[in-house]
Symmetry: C2
Subunit: 135 residues, 2 copies
């Protein structure tokens, strides 16, 4: 078991992707008008791709067009003070191909926020890293 300089367990890429596939909510980290920005979103892990639904005119859609973004999910147990976090960094792209959009529309991905959300953003999980705080 590998441990980092902070004493946290280092997760493998496979462990990170397994954990990401269990999380209903993650946070997309991007730049908005030259400032750091972060927004929680529902997502679905489709192979090595993080799929997010939003509305076409949203700030998120505009700010993540062919941008390198980070995507983070985590889960913590407040009683036991344990938990994990996984971060993926990669290129975000808007899905414009109708065939791909139709395929993504079949994924089990429902957003909690109201409104029409027919715009898909895909983040390729190029760099993946994760840590665990164990008992």
């Amino acid at each position: 078991m590998q441990v980092d300089s902070s004493g946290l367990q280092v997760l493998s890429r496979a462990e990170c992707l397994d954990l990401l596939s269990t999380a209903p909510i993650g946070r997309i980290v991007f730049t908005d008008q030259a400032l750091p920005a972060v927004q929680p979103v529902n997502f679905h892990l489709d192979g090595h791709s993080i799929v997010i639904r939003t509305s076409t005119g949203s700030k998120l859609a505009a700010a993540t067009r062919r941008a390198v973004v980070a995507f983070e999910a985590d889960e913590f147990d407040l009683e036991r003070r344990t938990g994990w976090s996984v971060t993926a960094v990669g290129l975000a792209r808007a899905v414009t191909d109708p065939t791909e959009r139709d395929r993504l529309a079949e994924l089990p991905l429902t957003t909690w926020a109201p409104g029409n959300r027919d715009h898909y953003i895909v983040v390729e999980a190029e760099q993946v890293s994760g840590r665990r705080i164990a008992d």
Copy 2:
């Protein structure tokens, strides 16, 4: 009640700070080697300042030295599909004044990660925004 273009309730600054004061964990968003980075941390809200403890040699300490960062906390109810998120954006600074460090050391701020964490980072919550998804 104000609602944004995504149909989410817009929280006031006072509501945002109240919610931040209840959260044990947040996520600091910064830039690391020109890439977006995000790291979960324990924190304490001290007035309008977010106080974080880390180790002196950590990547977080190096990357947030006089940088504008974002800080996010949230809480979601997976059953009811409700929740809130708050984001603060502001200047991060390392605490170097011994008097201030002694005062911060008295705060109820314990980190879950092991190791010596005697380096304090303070993020001034200059811009604060928050959203709620209600029933």
